[in-house]
């Protein structure tokens, strides 16, 4: 807010004479509006990307009718959904039915308040940032249960109940893991956590304490997947079991809101994971932090780095969704309580101990040489294998089908 004020004042000096409430409105409202626009238009891109990525993995073309290479497809879909009639079934609880999607969106959008996009590019640097993210993000659970209950549909009710059980279970390991970076830094502020990772790739928390932190990251990511109801943990909406789960009865704009919330939550999770483990807005090589390498040291690229990293994690989520089948509800609980939670507990204790011992307060001595190349190599390898396997099978299928095509078209 202060930064916005200073920024505005440098352009429009008369602003200083305005009344306090107007100043407040302008200097707090403008960034909030910008942030909201940025975030609410995000799903347009995510949905398009998801459809194209799934098409690539499934040997399809994907949307290609609206706009060049189908770029405007989601825009068209959104407009369609906006103009569709919102149907209220006869016995729904109208108030809750309307409030639910709004509440889900509150839980999805509010965490953006504390995500740092740069040293000063952050709506609010709360000193309880991590705590705030977790607290606000769980609000959407209330929305989901509300939607499930208000719909007056048994499938919706099942969806709502499943999501409650799931999110409550998975929040515990996720919270435990959140404590790990917090313990290393000694602060809950996301800005502090980011700054503690500066100095290049090898200082990111993912690459410290080599075998430990990658495990922590995976646990956090898996728990996060369950929290945002993405496959393989998408049981609350499980379209083959519960039709649409909690949003079975929703249509038109209200349905679009659930959709928007889902994709926004994905990005929130990715951004949070990026800040906590992947150095947030910090560049992998400090020289790339600004446009200094082409002589513009004042133009920061931080927001772009956060954007890239979060996007990569969103991509991983899509990758998983289009590869894995869905888990069952009891197996889900099994994973949460009997696998993730013990691992998380052990990690908290171990990292807590390591942080207390001065020699390992900032990581093991081998991290600089071992951790990041191995971890990056593994991720790169998996990506490479996925793309190559798809390309190989496609090429091979074409080769083998060639004689058939010749035979069919003489």
């Amino acid at each position: 807010m202060d930064a916005t004020y200073a920024f505005l004042a440098s352009f429009v000096p008369e602003i200083a004479g305005w009344p306090a409430w107007a100043l407040m409105l302008v200097s707090a409202g403008l960034p909030a509006l910008a942030c909201f626009m940025f975030m609410s238009l995000g799903p347009l891109v995510y949905v398009y990307a998801e459809r194209k990525i799934s098409a690539f993995m499934q040997d399809r073309i994907g949307p290609n009718r609206v706009g060049p290479i189908g770029l405007l497809q989601t825009l068209a879909d959104t407009i369609k959904l906006l103009f569709k009639e919102a149907i209220f079934p006869k016995k729904v609880d109208r108030k809750l039915f309307v409030i639910a999607p709004i509440l889900v969106n509150v839980g999805a959008f509010m965490p953006f308040l504390v995500i740092p996009w740069g040293g000063r590019l952050q709506p609010a640097d709360l000193n309880v940032g991590v705590f705030y993210v977790v607290a606000i993000a769980s609000l959407s659970t209330v929305g989901l249960i509300m939607a499930g209950w208000a719909s007056n549909n048994k499938y919706s009710l099942f969806g709502g109940m499943r999501s409650a059980a799931q999110i409550v279970s998975y929040e515990i390991p996720a919270m435990m893991i959140l404590l790990v970076p917090v313990m290393i830094v000694g602060s809950l502020s996301l800005q502090d956590i980011t700054m503690a990772q500066h100095g290049g790739l090898q200082n990111w928390f993912l690459f410290r304490y080599f075998p430990i932190m990658p495990v922590a990251f995976v646990v956090f990511f898996v728990a996060g997947l369950a929290e945002v109801n993405r496959a393989p943990f998408d049981i609350p909406e499980a379209e083959s079991e519960l039709v649409g789960g909690f949003h079975t009865e929703y249509s038109g704009f209200f349905f679009a809101m659930f959709f928007m919330a889902e994709y926004t939550e994905m990005f929130v999770l990715s951004a949070t994971a990026t800040v906590l483990f992947l150095g947030g807005y910090l560049a992998p090589i400090p020289a790339l932090q600004t446009l200094g390498f082409i002589g513009l040291p004042h133009v920061s690229l931080g927001w772009l780095w956060l954007w890239f990293k979060a996007w990569f994690l969103v991509f991983v989520m899509m990758w998983l969704r289009w590869t894995l089948p869905r888990s069952r509800v009891d197996q889900l609980m099994h994973i949460a309580w009997k696998v993730l939670l013990p691992i998380a507990l052990v990690l908290v204790v171990v990292v807590g101990g390591l942080v207390l011992w001065p020699a390992t307060a900032n990581g093991f001595f081998w991290d600089r040489w071992v951790g990041w190349p191995l971890t990056l190599g593994l991720v790169g390898f998996l990506l490479y294998v996925m793309v190559r396997a798809l390309q190989w099978s496609r090429r091979r299928a074409q080769e083998l089908a060639a004689p058939a095509r010749q035979a069919v078209t003489p």
């Binding site: 083959s240 590869t323 894995l324 069952r328």
Partner: protein, 388 residues
């Protein structure tokens, strides 16, 4: 939700425990494979009892048959199991030929085997693909359908239709295979064997989540399977080697070298949903084996007329016949009674999916809702065939 006529004795909503409720799954539900309604008495996610209701797709097939002549039955037979039409018409054609004492040439037999096995692959592709979709994985389905499309292209090339072919006629088939058919089919099979099939195993069948979802679910013991007259892949999934192509060969199946695929219980008890699905998966490979042999044979054979000398108006002598064949979904039996007229006096179909539904409520007891979906899918039912 429950209407009075569907609720009897223990299904009385007033007699339910306070924790229980009745959930109507279907007839409009994405995972019931058609218009099947399953009534579930659930306690939370646990299913206390389940009751399938069929009949939403009843089209009076058997009554229709009494009012059309024998060749006219074929299009109706096509529409029973619309995912595997070749198998339906083959069964009826063979039944009438048995009644009429018509012997078709080995060439026609080979063509019929090729079509039946291609259809079996196409049908199992749909079965396994939609099953993976029921479990929540969308990608394997699309990878498989890529190959199914090519099989349908072959059918279209041969007889002009992609879904309901009217291909097997009494005393022959409607069209001879076109020039270049053997080559195209061979290429398709090579692609299936070396790309799609291994990909399917890697992508979904041995996937840990998939295995954990299915390997202990819906276990149908051999005794239960026999007592409820499960047939085809559902029976073989319980570990019983019973395949009409081996046991009562028709169309010259005795001359082909193939194995009867059984559920092995790699990951759990024999007879689970995983095993039934597994049988379908490996059966595709066996069908491909049969096809390779049949195609070799067809190439060496001399072209023959695919229409036997059958009178224009088929009038079998007075009598009755029961003939069963191994359709992709199991034993498909036709009981045909002739009174010497142009129309059959009575046609009764014993359909594999119908009997498979009879074991449903035994297995569904005590499952979770997600498992009900897995169970319905594992029988690979087609409602068109259940209701006829």
């Amino acid at each position: 939700m429950a209407t009075p006529e569907t609720i009897v004795n223990d299904w009385d909503p007033d007699a339910l425990d306070t924790d229980e409720m009745i959930l109507q799954m279907g007839p409009q539900h994405p995972a019931t494979h058609g218009a099947l309604r399953v009534e579930l008495r659930t306690d939370g996610e646990i299913v206390k009892a389940a009751r399938p209701h069929i009949g939403y797709l009843h089209r009076c097939f058997e009554k229709h048959c009494e009012n059309v002549d024998y060749p006219g039955v074929m299009p109706y037979a096509d529409r029973m199991d619309y995912c595997a039409s070749m198998g339906n018409t083959l069964g009826f054609a063979l039944a009438v030929e048995k009644l009429h004492a018509i012997q078709v040439s080995p060439y026609v037999d080979t063509v019929r085997v090729i079509m039946a096995e291609l259809q079996r692959i196409a049908s199992h592709i749909l079965g396994v693909g939609t099953y993976s979709m029921d479990i929540g994985a969308f990608t394997p389905f699309l990878h498989l359908v890529r190959d199914r499309e090519k099989i349908l292209d072959l059918f279209e090339w041969t007889c002009g239709a992609r879904l309901l072919y009217n291909y097997n006629w009494v005393g022959g088939v409607s069209h001879d295979v076109p020039e270049g058919f053997v080559k195209a089919t061979g290429a398709l099979l090579r692609e299936f064997d070396s790309v799609t099939f291994p990909e399917l195993l890697d992508l979904i069948i041995h996937n840990r989540i998939f295995v954990r979802r299915l390997s202990h679910v819906g276990v149908c013991s051999p005794e239960l399977a026999i007592s409820h007259d499960l047939t085809g892949p559902n029976l073989r999934g319980s570990g019983i080697a019973r395949d009409l192509r081996k046991d009562e060969p028709y169309c010259g199946y005795q001359n082909y070298d193939f194995e009867v695929c059984l559920g092995k219980g790699q990951y759990g008890p024999v007879g689970s949903c995983f095993d039934r699905n597994w049988v379908r998966v490996v059966e595709m490979r066996e069908s491909s084996k049969i096809l390779h042999q049949a195609l070799d044979r067809l190439e060496k054979m001399e072209k023959a007329d695919v229409h036997e000398k059958v009178p224009k108006r088929v009038k079998p002598p007075k009598g009755e016949v029961y003939f069963r064949s191994e359709a992709p979904r199991g034993q498909l039996g036709y009981y045909v009674v002739s009174d010497g007229n142009v129309n059959p006096y009575r046609v009764k179909v014993k359909s594999p999916c119908f009997t498979a539904m009879s074991v449903f409520h035994h297995l569904a007891k005590g499952m979770m809702i997600a498992d009900i979906i897995a169970l319905i899918g594992s029988f690979d039912i087609v409602l068109g065939e259940i209701d006829r």
